[in-house]
């Protein structure tokens, strides 16, 4: 218990420290390096390396961990990379791995004294005019930059369906460019997400998975609306589908029951929770039931045959929650 508390306090402190380092690092770069960088590619490389250093640092500090899957798919030019946006960190995570990355920044970042140096040196696209924005993006792809877009336009709203703007789909269709989807998952879901205060860190360390998927062929799509709907579904299935739920349930099991030395990867989705499998007992089941009720708003009847069946495995629990959530 005490250890947990110390860890929690440390992560609050380290998150604050992380922000400070990021700001300070930006400032140092601003006055020492960026006045001398004239070449966009050099500036982008510097930013990528600085971001890489930053995420290694905060991983080392124990406030996040991350896994990159199929990263080799990013070693190409002129990609149109679309990613979902669960947390503030994922911009940094993604930009640390995409070479010659171009992205769209708020026009305020072009004015902000801390960010304007790097933003201008890297030639990032500014979104002050929506009409020119599309043309700027098309030009960027033509020059071979890897254009990285978060089609949600902002961070994901917690517990709501994904909502994509149609700009990214418009760019893909106009440039005849296939889409490279990157699915970002964050467990627990609440680290530096929209509307959350930064010091409200989750009970356990935030774990990120960056999954580079196979390119989506856009040839069959005729309109931006159609493509946007497809993309929304694609990302929804991957981030809020059964697979995501199963990982969440495992995480809830670990945190509620304070299973030390076990990670989500150690729990077999189909293994029995009680007895031979994970070895939980009836008190564990009660605690878990309360936690699941709180998290998903499901109601479970104690001692019913049905409830017992739901608690058979992680898969059974996740399927039950999934059914409950469906309209």
């Amino acid at each position: 218990m005490l250890l947990q508390k110390i860890n929690y306090t440390w992560r609050v402190f380290a998150t604050g420290l992380g922000f400070s380092i990021f700001g300070l690092g930006g400032l140092i770069f601003l006055v020492t390096v960026f006045p001398f960088v004239r070449n966009t590619k050099t500036a982008r490389k510097l930013i990528r390396l600085a971001f890489k250093f930053f995420i290694e640092l905060i991983s080392y500090m124990g406030i996040i961990s991350y896994e990159l899957h199929n990263g080799e798919k990013l070693n190409r030019n002129g990609l149109l990379i679309l990613a979902n946006h669960p947390s503030l960190i994922d911009t940094v995570l993604l930009m640390a791995f995409v070479k010659d990355a171009d992205c769209i920044v708020k026009s305020s970042l072009q004015q902000n004294m801390f960010t304007r140096g790097p933003v201008r040196a890297a030639g990032y696209i500014c979104n002050n005019n929506e009409v020119d924005l599309i043309d700027d993006c098309l030009k960027s792809l033509q020059t071979g930059s890897n254009l990285t877009i978060f089609p949600e336009g902002t961070r994901t709203t917690l517990n709501a369906p994904l909502s994509f703007k149609r700009g990214a789909a418009n760019i893909a269709l106009r440039a005849h460019k296939n889409i490279t989807p990157v699915v970002i998952r964050c467990i627990p879901k609440v680290y530096l997400s929209k509307g959350e205060k930064w010091w409200k860190v989750p009970p356990t360390k935030a774990r990120f998975t960056i999954d580079v998927k196979d390119d989506i062929d856009i040839q069959a799509f005729t309109s931006a609306r159609q493509l946007t709907l497809y993309l929304q579904d694609y990302f929804m299935n991957d981030t809020q589908g059964l697979q995501q739920l199963e990982t969440e349930v495992k995480d809830i099991i670990i945190t509620t029951l304070q299973l030390e030395d076990i990670t989500v990867h150690d729990i077999d989705t189909h293994a029995a929770l009680f007895g031979d499998g994970l070895g939980l007992d009836s008190i564990d089941a009660l605690e878990l039931g309360v936690a699941l009720q709180k998290r998903y708003g499901i109601s479970l009847l104690a001692n019913s045959e049905e409830t017992r069946a739901h608690f058979a495995s992680v898969h059974a629990l996740a399927s039950m929650i999934d059914n409950f959530r469906k309209p």
């Binding site: 929506e130 009409v131 703007k165 149609r166 700009g167 418009n170 309109s223 931006a224 609306r225 159609q226």
Partner: protein
């Protein structure tokens, strides 16, 4: 072309460009809040209307447009200029 014809043409255009259901479109339909037209779509509409009429709709004029009827009025004015 009278206003009714312009209206029918506008509805046909919206249907063709954005796969909108014609029965859901009324003169009072708001392009942005009801028909889910975004800024890129709006630019596309202006480009198409310019091509169709052979005239140039000023961006400021189209920025004031909210409903389907507004589009019809803009087109009507534009074609009236032509006549004089």
């Amino acid at each position: 072309m009278n206003k009714d014809q312009i209206y029918t043409m506008t509805v046909d255009l919206l249907h063709e460009m954005f796969e909108l259901d014609k029965s859901k479109i009324t003169p009072q339909s708001n392009l942005y809040t009801e028909l889910d037209i975004d800024s890129i779509d709006a630019v596309d509409i202006v480009v198409r209307l310019n091509q169709m009429t052979g005239k140039r709709i000023q961006p400021e004029v189209f920025r004031a447009v909210r409903t389907v009827q507004d589009v019809v009025d803009v087109l009507d004015n534009l074609l009236a200029e032509n006549a004089t």
